[in-house]
Amino acid sequence: MAIREIKCPNCGGYMHFSPDEGNVKCEFCDSVFTADVLENYAEIITEECNDEQEYTFFDDKYVKENATVYTCSSCGGEIITDDVRFASRCPYCDSPVLMTSRVEGVLRPEYIIPFKITKEQAQEAYKNFCRHRPLLPKMFLSENRIDSITGLYAPFWLFDCDCGISARFKATRTHSWSTADFDYTRTDHFCIYRAGDMSFSAVPVDGSSKLDNKFSEAVEPYDISKAVSFNSAYLLGFVADKYDENSEHASKRAFDRVKHSAEAAAYRTVSGYGTVINEHSGVHIRSSKSHYALLPIWLLNTSYKNKIYSFAMNGQTGKIVGELPISVGKGVGLFAGLTALLTVLFSVIGILFL
């Protein structure tokens, strides 16, 4: 960008050279800049990059194999299994309909992380999750069917990428001093520029629209180093799903997360200032590869009062996340009881000691 097109670094307004000041002045905010400063600023504006992604998508390099796919007539969720017993209840919407089946060619994944958590351990973890919850409605525990907890291999896209980040910040430093009559405050304004490279390995994005991202991301991280080459023997006794969001679609989610990490990393390199604000940042994904993998997850969906409450457990690390309904009646009762108790306690202490 030629220096003539540069706008005021403070307010973005038009600037002109002022013969009185001997410097460049902004017409809107009256800030004054030297010519050298503006030249350096123009360099930064020219060099910084905007968001850009160069992905190559290899979806077609994957081999297709025949498998039996069951579809839920209630919610449209799909599972792949050879064991028809698993097809009696949909793991996504918890409805007890027998799923319809067909044989289809599905992509053979590159990697799989086998289950390390057993069904008993998963059920135990679920019981613990629901225990000691004063706000949980009593009927909820009796209504869920802990036996129908499903061991699901969820389809994920794993992204490796190298990216470049350039970030521009506005920063200030203040210095105060006083004389007998006045308090002075001097504020110095800076333009901070950081550019660098970062690499990411195996950023996971779930490829199933039926498995909500808020579960698949909440149970992260998976230890990808323990992933092995795919072998359909691992699927025996478990259920798998196939992707319905291709890697191009998934790459957008990966990009958002990568950009956030890169911006945060750049921000952390700025120090010694009072305030730092990000003005502009651009992430350029230079090379990336996507891998199709199946990752293990224990899933239990319980419907209660026409809403689905889900519980998910990382099948490799055991990390659990879930949603539970809140009983308003119990909440109010707890609040009233605790308030009454504490009022008595505080009053007694107050009357005795004050």
Partner: protein, 320 residues
């Protein structure tokens, strides 16, 4: 089980609030028996109180007695109380608060408006303060404070305490004596307000003195405040518990998947743009008690404030 639970809770809450029944109005109709009041020739004041309280031990016994006599003379002749108090430190209160409270809570003052003037000298912070009450607020006014202090301050600074206080008491009558302003000479341009001369007795004579809050109403306030904090705490607990019921959510970043040691900076520039300097004048400490007008004709600018007992006071002070 649940019903019993609700019942207990409701019963507890009702009990707590019914304690309010015992709250008693804070103002008393009669003064407590500790202060015996003596009516002497139509003036109501407490003769037994010492008018010179020399906690800082600046005066010897003879000097104290003489000053005390001068104070009582002022009361009998002019109908306004005069008190001199010296202390070594005012317990975290300002001099103004200490002087006002000392006057109010010890029962000084003449008549239903508790007219009078108190001079406080604090040797620890080297502050003096004059507190005026009742009709003396307006008769002395801010101008009077200045006039009185300009006479006794040099003596006070020099350490001539007896001379200082006698000068003060000699000058005082000129400032406390007031005429009856109830009709024509109304200062305030406000026909509703009447200034009674010091010591005036109301037809149905009720003396109002401040009294510390009764114990039961104090307890009620404690219960009320406890309830407030208890409900705040309970709300916090309930909120935290409800948040734990949902642990799902998208991840913002991919920090867990950073490879090769993180960000490798290739370019780093910190560019100074410009500088702004602002300045603010520093506030200067001011002396209180400045006012306009003489004590005879108008006191449009008398500063009045309310003490902790609820009684209004005028006055001013400074250092020495």
């Amino acid at each position: 089980m649940k019903k019993i639970y609700i019942f207990t809770v409701t019963a507890l809450i009702i009990t707590v609030f019914s304690l309010g029944v015992f709250a008693v109005d804070g103002t008393a109709e009669n003064p407590s028996n500790e202060n015996t009041t003596v009516a002497v020739s139509e003036l109501i004041y407490d003769e037994k109180l010492p008018r010179v309280v020399d906690n800082a031990d600046l005066l010897d016994e003879d000097e104290e007695n003489e000053l005390n006599k001068m104070c009582l003379d002022i009361i009998k002749t002019y109908g306004a109380d005069a008190v001199i108090v010296t202390v070594n430190g005012t317990d975290y209160k300002s001099a103004e608060e200490y002087a006002d409270d000392y006057y109010d809570y010890n029962g000084y003052g003449v008549g239903p408006e508790c007219d009078g003037v108190l001079l406080l000298v604090d040797m620890e912070s080297r502050n003096w303060h004059i507190s005026t009450t009742g009709s003396c607020i307006y008769s002395v006014g801010d101008y009077g404070i200045d006039a009185l202090s300009s006479n006794f301050l040099p003596l006070l600074s020099d350490g001539d305490y007896f001379e200082c206080f006698s000068t003060f008491l000699n000058d005082l009558p000129e400032w406390v004596y007031t005429e009856d302003y109830s009709d024509d000479n109304n200062y305030y341009g406000n026909d509703d307000y009447e200034v009674y001369p010091p010591g005036y007795i109301y037809p149905d004579d009720t003396v109002i003195r401040p009294e510390p809050m009764s114990r039961v109403s104090k307890n009620f306030v404690i219960v009320l405040i406890s309830f407030f904090f208890a409900s705040l705490f309970s709300a916090l607990i309930a909120f935290l518990l409800s948040r734990q019921m949902k642990t799902t959510g998208l991840k913002k970043s991919s920090d867990m998947y950073i490879a090769n040691g993180g960000l490798h900076l290739t370019d780093s520039r910190d560019l100074f743009l410009y500088s702004n300097t602002s300045m603010r004048p520093r506030p200067k400490p001011t002396n209180t008690g400045g006012g306009f007008g003489s004590h005879n004709s108008g006191s449009g600018g008398v500063s009045v404030h309310t003490g902790s007992s609820g009684t209004s006071h005028g006055g001013g002070g400074g250092g020495f």
